[in-house]
Symmetry: C2
Subunit: 82 residues, 2 copies
C-alpha cells in the first residue's frame, strides 16, 4: 500500500455538498480496489480538487474515481511525506 | 485563516532528506507570516510536491516559500475539504 495524490481540474463552482457527495461515492466502492480516500481539498475558484488516498496502485485509485463518475486528471504516487 | 494547497514542479529526484530540509526551512520562518505548513507530499518521479498550509493569504504562503528558497508554482485556497 502506498500514498497517492490525485488532481481533478475544471470543477469551478463546486459546493461543499457536491464535494461531500463525490467523496461518499468514492468511499462506497473503494473497498473493491483496496483503496481508501483519506481527504479531499477543493478550490471552487480554480476548479482544482486534490485527493489523498492510500492504495495498491495509481490504476486502482483511478478505477474507483472512474466508477464513481469523476475520473482524475492526474494520479501521482507520493512516497515522501512530512 | 484559511487552508491552502500549493504545488511545486520540477523536483524530480527529491529525497526524503531534501523534503524534510525544505519543510524545516519553511517552519523556521513561517511565524513571520502567520503561516503554518501542516504537511507536504512529494513524488520524486514526476517532481511534483504538494504542500498543505493554514495561512492568512496565498501571498503569505508564497512569501514564506520564496524566503526559504523554493517558490511554489501554484498556490490555491482550498476552502472546501472532506
Amino acid at each position: 500500500m502506498a500514498k497517492f495524490m490525485d488532481v481533478h481540474r475544471g470543477m469551478q463552482g463546486i459546493t461543499a455538498e457536491q464535494l461531500l457527495e463525490a467523496h461518499k461515492a468514492d468511499l462506497a466502492i473503494e473497498k473493491d480496489e483496496s483503496v481508501h480516500f483519506e481527504h479531499a481539498w477543493a478550490d471552487p475558484e480554480s476548479g482544482h480538487i486534490y485527493c489523498l488516498s492510500e492504495a495498491p496502485s495509481a490504476e486502482a485509485v483511478q478505477r474507483v474515481h472512474e466508477r464513481a463518475g469523476h475520473r482524475a486528471d492526474e494520479v501521482h504516487p507520493v512516497p515522501l511525506q512530512v
